[in-house]
Every structure is written in C-alpha cells, then in structure tokens.
C-alpha cells in the first residue's frame, strides 16, 4: 500500500495521506484484527518490516510488506522508529534510511492499535482530541481541554467542515483536522476560524459558527449540510443557508415518525416530482415555480394540484410552506447518496 499512497500523492499533492493512514487503522481497530494483521498493514503502508515485542510473553513478531513473517534475526532498530505501545509492549519499523513522510503516523497508529488489541486501556480513553471536542456527551471541561490542545482559543468562534475521505480538495485550508467516526462511517472533520468558511472541497458541509464548547453543534450541522450536497451541481453546502432549521434537522432522531415525509415519497414517484418540489420550495408563487422548473405555468398548475391532493395541504399557503420545506429536507437527508459517492473527478 506504500506504493498506492505514492500514487495518491502524485495524483493530488495536497491529499492528506496521514488521514488515510488513520482511517485505515481505525477500520482495523473496529474490525478487532490480530497482531499480525496490524503489523502487516503497518509494513505494507511503510514499505518495510514492522515488528512487535511483548516482554510478558517473550513473543516477537516481525512482518514484511507482503504480510509474511520476516526472515532472519532481529536487527538493531533505530530509536526513531521504535515506540512503546504500553508497559512491556513495543512496536517498531525496520527502517534504515531516511525517515519517510508517513513513518511517524504509521508508528503512532500501530502503537495505539496494538495497545487496544492487547487490552491495555479502553478504546474510549484513547479517542483523539477532535473526536472528544465534537462529542456533546463528553464533559464540557474535557472538551475545552481538547480544544486548547488543538490550538483553539476559548471565546473565539469556529466552524467545523465535514467531508468524506474521498472528497476532492482543490485548496486545503489549515486547521485542526482528523477522521471522526460517525454513524455514516469515517468522516473527515476540519475546524476553521469563523469568517474563513468558503470551502472548495467537494463534497463538503460547513457547519454554523460557534464557540469551542458548542463545536459539537457545528459538527452536527456540518454533517447535515454535507448530506444535503448533490455533486457535481452542489459540491458544498453552508449550514447557515438553512438558519435554525438545520439545527432541528441535526437533532431530529433517526427514523423519527414523519408523516409528511412519507407523503413526499409518494410525490417523488412521479417523474416530475423531484424537479417540481425543488422549484416550489425556492419560489413564492406558482408562476415563479414554473419559471424555476422551466415548464409552462399550466403544467406547473396541474402538477401542484396533484401535489396538494397528495400532501393534503397547499404548499404555498401559511404553514404549508414550512411543512413542505421541512419534509423536503428530511426526505433529501434520508435519500442522500453523497457519502456513497466515489472519488476524484479531477483530471490528472
């Protein structure tokens, strides 16, 4: 995989290979794979033998980049490439030349994964600062400590940007970033100062601005914004565009009972359903909706009659607008494919 990382770097010099290494080990830890598999991944990522020694059991394991047990006796390992995983547990890379760009992160992740595999320390104690900062279940004091560790200033306002690992970043803004596990899979999260929120990454969602103790809220709104992306037409979504509504969406339980959304499903069974509702939620009149959808107003009128009959309310009248708008967004979130979407569309 070292060779694959090299290809990724050549294709996109701004790509964060460290994030891919982190995501790789995150999956290995979730999968609870054994010591050999962890060493094989490290060796494959680094392109050299990776080793492990347990003083308690007296066991040494050395694995080469093709996943086989390494031949020969253990050579002297340079101190730079050796790390204690826990008391009596050591891991290393058998590197004898210059330090390679990913060596440090590979060694750090390997040590963490080995420690967890060998039952030294609970996983929750080893979450990294950004994961802690973005989790509202974590005590606010602990979150503030994480924020300070990450170089964020209490009292300043920041936004969280969310993107899948496969997102394309024409420009990569600088800020604390990490891979954060969510129920949608591993998400790349980046924290930027407020005011700096034009993000070119696609797909990506930019959360609302908050102070550090509320960045968990920014994160959740960023995740909703991300799931509202529709690339290539809509590559990045700002949570701010939806005001307080996005906070409600972020906090709504999954699979909550939403009868209006079920009605939207029925509207969407019509071939014209998606473009019609997209036009209606952005318009204040039938005539404007017809223009937005690029159809004759009599066509829009007949579609709207069907919509009104299906929904049981007029989408241009009173709370009908709010009901349609909210249900439409929930429907889009439930049908979002943005996190399934594949990788780069950039020309090399």
């Amino acid at each position: 995989m070292q060779e694959l990382l090299g290809r990724i770097a050549r294709l996109d010099p701004s790509a964060s290979l460290g994030l891919r290494v982190i995501a790789c080990f995150d999956e290995l830890m979730v999968g609870n794979v054994n010591t050999r598999a962890l060493l094989a991944a490290a060796a494959s990522l680094a392109g050299c033998v990776a080793g492990f020694r347990s003083e308690v059991s007296g066991r040494t394991v050395r694995i080469d980049p093709r996943g086989h047990h390494a031949d020969g006796v253990l050579p002297d390992v340079l101190p730079d490439f050796r790390q204690d995983a826990s008391d009596g547990l050591t891991v290393w890379l058998e590197r004898y030349g210059e330090r390679q760009p990913n060596d440090a992160i590979v060694l750090e992740r390997l040590a963490l994964a080995i420690r967890i595999r060998h039952g030294r320390g609970r996983r929750s104690d080893h979450r990294r600062d950004l994961s802690l900062l973005l989790d509202r279940e974590v005590d606010v004091q602990a979150r503030c400590v994480s924020a300070i560790t990450l170089g964020l200033r209490p009292g300043s306002r920041y936004r969280v940007v969310c993107a899948p690992l496969f997102a394309v970043w024409p420009e990569h803004p600088q800020g604390p970033e990490d891979v954060v596990p969510t129920r949608f899979g591993a998400i790349h999260a980046l924290v930027l100062p407020d005011g700096d929120h034009a993000v070119s990454a696609a797909p990506s969602g930019v959360g609302v601005a908050t102070e550090v103790e509320d960045l968990h809220h920014s994160f959740r709104t960023a995740l909703v914004a991300l799931r509202l992306c529709d690339p290539p037409a809509v590559g990045s979504v700002l949570a701010d565009d939806f005001g307080g509504l996005i906070g409600l969406l972020a906090d709504a339980p999954d699979g909550s009972f939403q009868p209006d959304v079920a009605l939207i499903d029925t509207v969407m069974t019509h071939a014209w359903g998606a473009e019609t509702l997209a036009a209606v939620v952005r318009s204040h009149s039938l005539r404007q909706a017809a223009r937005a959808a690029g159809v004759h107003h009599s066509t829009m009128q007949s579609r709207l009659e069907t919509v009104t009959a299906t929904l049981g309310f007029d989408p241009f009248d009173g709370y009908g607008r709010t009901r349609l708008g909210t249900a439409y967004l929930v429907w889009r979130l439930r049908h979002s494919r943005v996190l399934d979407l594949p990788a780069p569309t950039t020309a090399p």
Binding site: I8, A15, C24, E27, D340
Partner: protein
C-alpha cells in the same frame, strides 16, 4: 411508517480489506464513469519495475508480434536470469477494465511464477478501449499467444507447457484465448488462470447489483468498461464469446481452469457460473470464492490474510500445472 432507504443487502468486506479500501479508494474510485478514464490511465499506470526485476533476478526483453490488422503489439518476455533451457510459458493479459493499465499492471504476483517455478512470462501491451474496441484487444492477445507457440524456441519456452492467465479484464481475455485456441486448433494449452474474470457484458447478475458505489469496480464501472469495448452491441446477441466468454454456449474441450473471485464483488456470480458451465461440459475447473474479498484485493492488499490465501492457492495450482 416512514420510508427509510434500505441499503442493499450484500456480503461484508473482511476487516483488513475494509481498512485497505481507505487507501485504495484514493487511486481507484469505486465508480468509474467514462469521464474518469483519463484519470484512471494515470492512476493505474504501473510503476517502474526495474528494481523489482533486479531483486528477483529476472531478465526482461521487449519484442513485437503482429496483429491481424498489421499493428505491432509490444510484448515483454520475462525469464529467470541465467536460465538457458526451455521453460514453461505463460501468456499474460493485464487488468484495467479494458480501458487502462499496461503490461506491467499487477505484475508482482505473476512474477512469483518466474522466480519460484522458472516460468517464462509473456506479458502483452494489448490495445485499449474505447479507442480500440473489440476485436483489437482480443486479436492482440491472440497474436501474442500464437507467437508464444510459433517462436517458442526463440523466446526459450516449452510449447508443450503453455498457460494463459489474466486478471479482471485480462481474465476475460485469457478465457477468450482458451476458447479461440480450441476453435482455431491453435496452441495447445495446459491451463487457464482466470482471476476474478470479467466475462459477461450483460451486467445483470445479482452480485452486479449488490456493489454500487463501494469497493473496487462496481456496476457502473463494469458498464463503462463493456460499453467501451462493445459500443452499442453491448448486451445484444451480436456479442462474440471471444469478447465476453460468458456468451460461449460450448465449454467442452477447454484446458483446466483455475478461477478465483471475491464473495464481495460484482464478478462473483459470473465466475461461479463459468466454472459451473465448464463442469457441466465435462471439463476441469478449480473454483475459489474468497469470503470478504473485494475485486482484485490480492493486487491492492497482498499483505492481508485473505490476499495471502488467494495468492497461495493460485500459486499452488500453477505449480502443479507447470513446474518441473
């Protein structure tokens, strides 16, 4: 009740392989549309192999063979250094969805056969779709197979111990070569190695529909590849079995086949069906379906337990067929 979108039920990826996808996805996106062909030609181009050959004591000589339309097809003949006697020969078709890759793509795994069994490997720079649709890629491969027999002495290989092999799109081409060699009374083959082969242009199996937007080589990628090769003929009765071997109605009289495929990839069902059809015709096939494996995971993640097991099983079969 509310309509939650139900994800498609599909076999899970192995944990080590799922971790591998975090890296693989950066250079080989799951869904390849025609506008990504140029990206893939850069991303999937084989790295230089000089150091690898040096380390393995393998000598590489380039040569050309002539396709029916006069095109000169470049082939590389790879042989163990210092071996002068005639050796078993392997004609190899590389992977890359018929649209990208080159004769050294994924070659590491096949080089084991040169270093471990002393085979002579002929790997072929067949022309790529969509610029060169069927029959050009197939004709280029057949010209190389023909030359392996007719120029056996010159290339130092044994005409009586020839194997065709290929991975993915190359696996489909290798299966087509075995069919054509039988039909044309061509070179006698001792075996065909079909690694997760791309066999069926119709793209209608259950496994094809289980892997949209995940793993390596999904339904859309497959449709992109077949359409590049066959154009509007894809899915029609016009398709030749040499292009899409799943179309073959007669699978008798073929050399022994080794077929491997992942349980978690779109080619699972067509690979199983091909082995089954060979058995029905009274032929010899060895089929391995690897649990948790995504497409070509042995190439992308050779270090994993599943990748190693795939490579070991395949090399064991090849050793039985061609080793001294």
């Amino acid at each position: 009740m509310t309509a939650e979108v139900q994800p498609v039920a599909r076999p899970p990826f192995d944990a080590e392989l799922r971790a591998g996808l975090a890296v693989v996805g950066g250079m080989f996106p799951p869904t390849i549309t025609p506008d990504l062909i140029d990206f893939m030609r850069t991303s999937y181009a084989a790295p230089p192999i000089d150091d690898l050959l040096l380390a393995k004591d393998i000598v590489c000589t380039d040569d050309v063979v002539v396709a029916p339309d006069g095109h000169e097809v470049v082939v590389s003949v790879l042989r163990p250094k210092d071996v002068t006697s005639e050796r078993p020969g392997v004609v190899y078709a590389h992977s890359g969805g018929l649209m990208f890759g080159d004769r050294f793509s994924g070659i590491d795994l096949v080089l084991d056969w040169v270093s471990d069994f002393g085979a002579v490997l002929v790997t072929v720079e067949y022309r790529l779709a969509p610029e060169h649709p069927h029959p050009f890629p197939f004709d280029d491969m057949y010209a190389a197979l023909d030359a392996a027999a007719s120029r056996a002495g010159e290339w130092g290989l044994r005409r009586d111990r020839l194997l065709v092999a290929g991975a993915s799109a190359g696996g489909g081409l290798a299966a087509g070569l075995a069919l054509a060699a039988r039909d044309r009374d061509g070179p006698a083959l001792r075996g065909q190695v079909l690694d997760y082969p791309m066999l069926d242009d119709r793209c209608v199996t259950a496994s094809t529909h289980q892997f949209d937007g995940v793993g390596v080589w999904d339904r859309v990628s497959n449709e992109t590849g077949w359409t590049a090769l066959l154009g509007s003929a894809r899915g029609t009765q016009e398709v030749s079995p040499y292009a899409a071997p799943a179309r073959a109605t007669d699978l008798s009289g073929l050399p022994p086949a080794f077929i491997d495929v992942g349980a978690a990839e779109i080619f699972r069902d067509e690979a199983i069906a091909y082995a089954d059809a060979i058995w029905h015709a009274g032929g010899d096939a060895e089929l391995h379906v690897w649990s948790g494996a995504f497409h070509a995971c042995d190439i992308f993640a050779a270090h994993t337990a599943v990748g190693r097991a795939m490579i070991r099983a395949r090399n064991g079969w090849v050793e039985r067929i061609i080793a001294d």
